[in-house]
């Protein structure tokens, strides 16, 4: 399949992830001041919570497959910072996947730490893309971290997509509940 189509598909998924993260943050903050939003948050958690761990694993899997597609099929060479983000994302598939199957919510902390580290690297990578002088005053001809393989809609680059994935995983891990709150005794 054409790499432009797949890249746009990943960009759309990343944008959807960003919308979900923003909605979750708004709901969480709004619930502090609004009883209506507090009820809405409870309803969302009741529905999403039991599935959130598996959804976080699915997000990690999609991000991993996307990352492998970009490097192995589209031949976008991963830079040094890309590898650091991969180091955080790839284990999440196993950690969260096993946790989802075993319904082991104790793995949420491990997952959150990995996703948090990955998100921090993504943010640094985005800064390097925006302000290349943070790392160097010149471009390595082979593969500088400031090089943008993808620049969708003028703002969404590969580390931006990765950050969207890490952020969504963090939100889902925060929402994950063993069973619906309404069903707890």
């Amino acid at each position: 399949m054409d790499s432009d189509v797949v890249t746009l598909f990943f960009a759309l998924l990343a944008t959807l992830a960003q919308l979900v993260v923003v909605a979750a943050v708004v709901l969480w903050l709004g619930a502090m001041v609004s009883p209506a939003l507090r009820r809405a948050r409870g309803s969302v958690l009741a529905v999403v919570g039991p599935q959130a761990l598996a959804m976080a694993a699915a997000v990690a899997l999609v991000c991993t497959l996307g990352s492998l597609y970009l490097s192995e099929v589209a031949h976008f060479l991963p830079c040094r910072l890309c590898w650091f983000q991969r180091t955080a994302m790839y284990p999440l598939v196993v950690v969260l996947g096993v946790a989802a199957v075993r319904r082991d919510h104790g793995a949420r902390l491990t997952g959150a730490i990995l996703a948090g580290i990955g998100a921090c690297v993504s943010i640094w990578h985005l800064l390097v893309e925006q302000y290349p002088n943070l790392e160097s005053s010149s471009c390595d001809p082979d593969n500088p971290c400031s090089f943008k393989w993808v620049d969708q809609w003028g703002y969404l680059t590969i580390p931006g997509m990765a950050l969207s994935g890490f952020a969504l995983i963090l939100v889902l891990l925060a929402a994950a509940r063993p069973v619906s709150l309404e069903e707890q005794p």
Partner: protein
Amino acid sequence: MTSPSNPGAETSSNGAVIWIGVGVVIVVLGIAAIFFARGSGDEKVENQTGSVSVGGSSTTTGGGSPQDAAPEGSLPEYDATLAEDPAVGMTIPTVTGSDFAGDDLTIAGDDGKAKVIVFVAHWCPHCQKEVPLLKEHLDEVPMPDDVELLTVSTSVQPGATNYPPQEWLEGEGWSAPVLADDEDSTVAQEFGLSSFPYFVVVDADGKVVTRASGELTTDQFDDLVKAAQEGSV
């Protein structure tokens, strides 16, 4: 008699609805990607790379980076950490190619002109900052008559950002002659490029006076022009 509600079954039902919803959204996004990406592929533009001959030998296209082993007689790879650049005093190689319009362009040391040669890559953010900076500066302080400013567009990558380089440089109002390097970045290799942007300063005898890489300030650029004029740093 109605049965009491079953929380487990309700959770399972909600879970199925969520996963079906996620699946539907993914399918919709996939269809949208196929629809909107149609025809938006990066087309390869002609004359963004050219055939280059070094001395008497012609080079062809292929893959490779400027850091690959350079042919004999070329300048050594630039290393900014060295106290003394081994290329200083060496005669620059003669390279012949063409500009974006396909017209012949030669960079040679035996034409009696001092020159500053700037190597840029369209995808390099440092080059993207340096070109408009120098353009603005050159509008105010033009190059002296006895020093020529030449540009080499190299490491061209269709599909990378800011492609094609011709459109980028013309959009910036860059008026210095531009040699389009070949797909092997042969000219960059010949001149010992190790990073972008890259500057080679040559005196009127065709000898290398100094080299520099990375973003330069306008004062640093003026120093390079002065070095080309005077034949020393």
